[in-house]
């Protein structure tokens, strides 16, 4: 579904006092809408008003649960001015343009003052009304179906890709874990139906198993075991899920600390953090090389071990072969010798004379078998034994090579680790209390992350074993079913369910893989388009495990070393890739899009982004520091005068108003 926003009406919502009306002119080329306001004027609350109206939550608030002491959603000044027993509403109305006709979405909540005039409370809970065209008539919904209608317009899960906070977008690739990137891609893939189907089929599978007539004594026992392991699987999966979530929280917090230190005012602290980044990256690479070297060493050991153990026997076989070769008994010419004898005697083994065609055929055959299969095998075998001897002979040397490589990498790793510890100590000795606190927390987080990663690894292995046990029990169960004709029908059902689960599971994996590749290609092309003047990068890669790499022209992965502007462009490129793949065409709203950008990146964004999103409304909620003369000039070609709004604030900063500037 494609839509654009034709108007927004905000009444007594947060700091917006009274009714603020914004009408947007729609133009494919001039697709930019500017809402200008200083920090704290209410730009983020415009974003919040939109998501509250559409989905009932405010995207820029940490918690959407109204706290007793928190400012109410309804404008505090308007509430304060209310007479005893009076009522007031906070209301947001969004009008949309769709190809089927206009939509109107309204959400309102009513507050009231008590008779004494000293207490405010919610008088009527939130009400959502959706009016949409259906043929020649308009339908108005107010019940539970309203949210479903809006979700068809733009699913709630996709909001972060359209209603964007510039700061969060800038930090997206600095603080997001691969799991979060994977989650974003999975939201877009919208494979929820397939995932749900698998889950429901598993319920049905368990139910069908319970129905099996327990006519063989073993079925009961197997079923009990199966249910026990299934329960174990559920518990373990749940625990793992929670631990992974906790790990993500730790990783995110650690990335935030790193980001804080990287952007800190003090040059020394920034440099230390920069150095730590490099060492961390280097250790990550060393770790990968170490694992590869260890795997190579182990594989080599697995390959060579049998030969080392059988060295004496192989040696003996080799001596026997060698002796026979020297005596001229090898390569064996058994068949050739036998045929030659027959030909010499001129008699077949049955006693008949070998004459005519029979003799000619045998002569031809003698030529063919001159190098018999057996002799070939023996020749190959002999060569192989010699190769094995060579390998055995080189065993010590090869093991030394492995040991040297591993030792070298371990030394490098330990050196880096010592330097990292030193950096951490230096940061902890900083005069700045906040830095000390953050550094302490970082050390604490590193320990927790390491421990948690080990536990997760261990528990994942345990879960795999449980899954194997379940699989084994199912096979056992199926073979027991064969023993009773009465269960044949249920067995057929089970086979159907199991097959469907397998097919859906494989389908889901395949689709997710394809989507990941599409997002990668689109993000890569978006990034290179948006950053067109900068030739330092060649591509963006999103790996199977959702780790992201931005490949520098010299081949390095620059994901941890991008500038603030490049990070924002990377975030925008990724979000745009997700948007286009989602198939939904909705306006893009970015709060503080140019916050920390340098001049070059401001120019890239303000000249390329509107062009790139041509035909899509692009709302930019900007501060005076962002909206420089140059930005204004760049955006002029994409901006209709009527689409420029300014947020004004009263003197004591309690009321905000929106005025059209153009």
């Amino acid at each position: 579904m494609q839509f654009s926003i034709s108007s927004l009406r905000i009444t007594n919502f947060r700091q917006f006092y009274g009714t603020q009306e914004l009408d947007f002119k729609l133009d494919k080329e001039k697709n930019v809408i500017i809402i200008y306001g200083r920090n704290g004027a209410g730009k983020s609350n415009i974003l919040n008003a939109m998501t509250w109206c559409l989905y009932g939550f405010e995207i820029q608030r940490k918690s959407n649960i109204q706290n007793k002491n928190e400012l109410p959603i309804v404008n505090a000044s308007a509430l304060d001015e209310l007479k005893p027993n009076g009522k007031i509403s906070a209301e947001v109305v969004i009008r949309l343009k769709t190809k089927d006709g206009p939509w109107s979405i309204k959400r309102r909540i009513e507050w009231s003052k008590n008779a004494q005039g000293d207490k405010n409370s919610v008088a009527d809970s939130e009400k959502l009304t959706v009016t949409y065209p259906d043929g020649n008539q308009d339908i108005t919904l107010t019940g539970s179906e309203t949210q479903i209608r809006i979700n068809q317009l733009l699913p709630k899960a996709l909001i972060p890709f359209f209603f964007i906070d510039g700061e969060q977008l800038r930090n997206f690739f600095q603080i997001s874990t691969p799991e979060q990137i994977g989650q974003a891609i999975n939201y877009i893939s919208q494979m929820q139906l397939v995932t749900n189907a698998q889950e429901h089929l598993e319920w049905v599978e368990e139910d069908v198993r319970r129905k099996v007539k327990r006519t063989t004594p073993k079925v009961d026992k197997i079923l009990k075991d199966l249910e026990f392991y299934k329960e174990e699987e559920r518990t373990k999966s749940g625990m793992l899920h929670n631990k992974n979530e906790l790990l993500n929280t730790y990783l995110e917090e650690k990335s935030e600390i790193d980001l804080f230190l990287k952007e800190h005012n003090s040059v020394v602290i920034r440099q230390l953090q920069g150095k730590r980044d490099l060492l961390d990256n280097s250790n990550q690479r060393i770790n990968e090389r170490l694992s590869r070297a260890k795997v190579a060493k182990n594989s080599y050991l697995v390959d060579i071990a049998p030969f080392i153990f059988l060295k004496d026997t192989i040696n003996e076989s080799h001596n026997i072969i060698q002796e026979k070769v020297e005596k001229g008994e090898l390569p064996p010419k058994i068949r050739e010798t036998f045929i030659r004898e027959l030909l010499e005697k001129g008699k077949c083994i049955c006693g008949n004379p070998l004459i005519g065609d029979a003799r000619r055929n045998l002569e031809l055959y003698r030529e063919k078998v001159s190098l018999s299969e057996l002799s070939e095998i023996v020749i190959i075998g002999k060569n192989q034994i010699e190769e094995i001897f060579f390998d055995i002979h080189n065993f010590t040397e090869k093991m030394d090579e492995f040991a040297d490589e591993i030792r070298e990498l371990e030394t490098e790793f330990t050196d880096n680790k010592l330097q990292l510890e030193e950096i951490s100590e230096n940061l902890k000795e900083s005069n700045n209390e906040e830095i000390q606190r953050k550094e302490d927390r970082r050390t604490d987080l590193e320990i927790k992350i390491r421990e948690l990663e080990q536990t997760i690894h261990q528990e994942t292995l345990e879960l795999e074993s449980i899954k194997k046990l379940i699989k084994g029990k199912k096979v056992e169960y199926d073979s027991e079913l064969e023993k009773d004709q009465k269960n044949i029908h249920l067995k057929k059902k089970l086979r159907l369910i199991e097959s469907a689960i397998t097919v859906l599971n494989d389908t889901e994996k395949e689709i997710k893989d394809r989507i990941r590749e599409q997002v990668q290609d689109n993000a890569s092309s978006n990034f290179l388009t948006l950053i067109s003047k900068n030739r330092a990068f060649q591509e963006v890669i999103i790996h199977d495990d959702y780790t992201v790499e931005v490949i520098h022209t010299l081949g390095w992965n620059a994901i941890n070393n991008l500038s603030a502007g490049e990070y924002l462009i990377m975030g925008l490129s990724f979000m745009s890739a997700l948007m286009s793949i989602s198939g939904f065409k909705a306006p893009v709203i970015i709060d503080t899009p140019l916050g920390k950008e340098d001049d070059i990146h401001r120019e890239y964004i303000t000249t390329n982004l509107p062009k790139y999103l041509k035909g899509t409304q692009l709302f930019l909620l900007v501060t005076p520091t962002e909206y420089t003369e140059e930005v204004e000039n760049n955006l002029k070609q994409f901006l209709l005068e009527e689409n420029y709004y300014k947020i004004l604030v009263n003197e004591d900063h309690t009321k905000s108003f929106i005025k059209r500037e153009g």
Binding site: W203, H489, K493, L496, L504, Q518
Partner: protein, 68 residues
């Protein structure tokens, strides 16, 4: 965007990968089609989710009737 027809093609390819004979291929294909149609109904909440198992069994019974 991966379209519905592409998803269906992936499903068909996956089934073909697992089931070489035509009879099994058809049965699984039909079953998965009905399962996804039903999930679509649950998704749009046009039917209640609490009878999921019973409704699934109805679908299965249609595909594998008792007397077969």
């Amino acid at each position: 965007m991966i379209s519905e027809s592409q998803v269906n093609q992936v499903i068909i390819d996956t089934i073909s990968g697992h089931f070489k004979d035509l009879e099994n291929f058809q049965i699984i294909k039909e079953f998965i089609e009905q399962v996804l149609q039903y999930e679509h109904l649950i998704w749009n909440q046009t039917i209640q989710g609490r009878d999921i198992i019973a409704n699934y069994e109805k679908i299965i019974d249609k595909i594998i009737p008792e007397d077969i």
